[in-house]
Amino acid sequence: MTAKLDPKLKYDEALEQLQEIVHLLERKEINIDDLAGKVKQAKLLVDFCREKLDSTEEEINKIISPNDGEEKPF
């Protein structure tokens, strides 16, 4: 669970996972043994989203003409 996240993870899913962790914590449905793991997982999710949000998306420029790669140079 503390493994790397799926790079295809969507924002929404990441946030959802994060909030799930919050709910678990709020409901105190987490035991101390798992706590650090969950926090780590939360950190990964946050970092993932942050990175995704802040990245300048050079790749996106490439991707942005995707279906028509050759057609339109945006």
Binding site: Q19, V22, I32, L45, V46, C49, D54, E57, I64, S65
Partner: protein, 470 residues
């Protein structure tokens, strides 16, 4: 009809020939006299609309069963137009458009040169609007019927919209407002915008917008935004068109509209994934969404940390408590046992003391019982055994003596009775013969020796003679 009446009159009067001018003047006068103070509300369709020096010139017609049954020119002077246009929030220009039905208040005027005309004094837009509304409703019905109406709603807007295709008229303020708001706000600006410039009003508008929507879908964008920076109500009508709505509905990329208007929605708004009233609002929506997302992210993560730390702190607390209780209860237990043992010793002490005291008093009791019983025995013996016996002896002794006394007295009395001394004192005597009382003597009395005792003498005599009593 009135015109004909006038003509008839003049033709009847004389065969005078009038100049056209005179005729027209007469007509002018007649119409002025007849109609100058009368207004009429007229419904007609605009077949042509022209503006010249601020004045508006309309060609009106009326059709029945596809056939034109009436035509008339009408004009609206600059000042009247401005007044009414103001009242209608500047909508008047779009109402005065080819094809629109209008309800107008007119006065009939005749001008010697321009002929008969209707002077428009007021416009009631409801008929026009109603007509538009009718068309709009028909379009919506059609879209619904064709399953297009809700298509966009099925597309999910991504949490973060970073790549935006923008369709609008580059020179309009709405377009510019959108871009500046999107890229210069303080919340989130990391957007990529692909612009598609089109006209948004006029005859070309619909076609251009449709093309842009289709083109935009070729790009890897998160959303297509259509903006229009305000305009008249009638201009909006472009976005009520069926074709645009259909294109929007069929877009596989979510479309957000920001077609500036105040009240009425346009069909494009209704079929779009989302609509805002103004382009600025769309931009705001986009960056706020990002901001909210980031905020949610931050909040969630903060919560994770906060709760985790609270959880740990709470556990530590619980823990400290538990540890304290552990010590407390342990000490209690030991203290209690120490007390228990102390109590046991105390009770032992008391028990021993009580036992010994009770034995002591038992001893004392027994001893005093011994003493008392012994003394009682002695007292009893003293009071009963000895005294009673002594009394008995005393009594019996005295009795014995008394008895003896009585016996003695009896004897003494008997003695007294038998004692002859008293008889002798009285002169009696006792005589005996041979120691036998004379009375008892039965021997020969004669010559016997008789002893006689008197009180004073003992006389011895011989019996000489004896005479018997008879």
């Amino acid at each position: 009809m009135l015109i004909f009446t006038a003509e008839d009159e003049e033709l009847e009067d004389k065969r005078n020939i009038f100049s056209l001018h005179a005729l027209n003047q007469s007509l002018e006068r007649f119409i002025r006299d007849k109609f100058a103070l009368k207004n009429y509300w007229v419904i007609a369709e605009i077949t042509k609309a022209q503006e010249k020096n601020g004045h508006h010139y309309l060609e009106l017609a009326d059709s029945k069963d596809g056939k034109r049954v009436a035509e008339m020119s009408a004009n609206m002077w600059f000042s009247t137009f401005n007044r009414v246009d103001n009242q209608l929030n500047g909508e008047l220009r779009t109402i005065f458009k080819h094809g629109n039905k209008v309800l107008i208040n007119v006065r009939i005027e005749f001008h010697p040169i321009y002929g008969l005309k209707l002077n428009i004094l007021d416009v009631d837009p409801t008929i026009t609007y109603g007509e538009l509304e009718k068309q709009k409703k028909e379009t919506i019905e059609r879209l619904k019927k064709e399953g297009l109406y809700n298509l966009q709603q099925e597309l999910k807007l991504p949490a973060i919209i970073k790549k935006v295709a923008l369709i609008g008229s580059q020179n309009t303020s709405g377009y510019r407002d959108f871009l500046s708001e999107l890229l210069e706000n303080r919340i989130y600006t990391n957007f990529k915008v692909k612009e598609f410039s089109v006209s948004v009003q006029g005859d070309r508008a619909a076609k251009e917008v449709i093309k842009a929507i289709i083109d935009a879908q070729a790009y890897n964008v998160d959303v297509i935004v259509i903006v229009r920076g305000g305009g008249s109500k009638m201009d909006l009508n472009v976005f009520n068109g069926y074709e645009i709505a259909k294109t929007i509905a069929e877009s596989r990329i979510p479309i957000i509209t920001g077609i500036g208007h105040e009240t009425d929605d346009v069909v494009a708004d209704l079929v779009a994934n989302k609509y805002e009233i103004t382009p600025t609002a769309v931009a705001k929506f986009l960056y706020v969404r990002a901001g909210v997302f980031r905020n949610d992210l931050q909040t969630a993560f903060d919560s994770v940390l906060k709760i985790s730390q609270q959880l740990i702190a709470a556990n530590k607390d619980e823990f400290t408590h538990t540890s304290k209780y552990l010590v407390h209860y342990t000490q209690n237990l030991i203290r209690e046992h120490n007390n228990l043992i102390k109590d046991s010793i105390h009770q032992l002490h008391i028990g021993v003391t009580e036992l010994i005291e009770s034995e002591r008093s038992k001893l004392e009791l027994n001893l005093s019982k011994v003493g008392n019983n012994a003394k009682n025995t002695i007292a009893l013996k003293k009071s009963t055994e000895l005294n009673s016996r002594l009394d008995m002896i005393h009594l019996l002794s005295i009795n014995s003596i008394e008895r003896s006394k009585i016996g003695l007295n009896n004897l003494a009395e008997l003695l007294m009775l038998l004692n002859p001394e008293e008889l002798l004192k009285k002169g009696y005597t006792i005589s005996t013969i041979n120691n036998v009382d004379l009375v008892n003597y039965d021997g020969e009395l004669k010559d016997a020796t008789l002893k006689t005792l008197s009180s004073q003498h003992l006389i011895t005599s011989k019996i000489i003679d004896v005479k018997n009593h008879e």
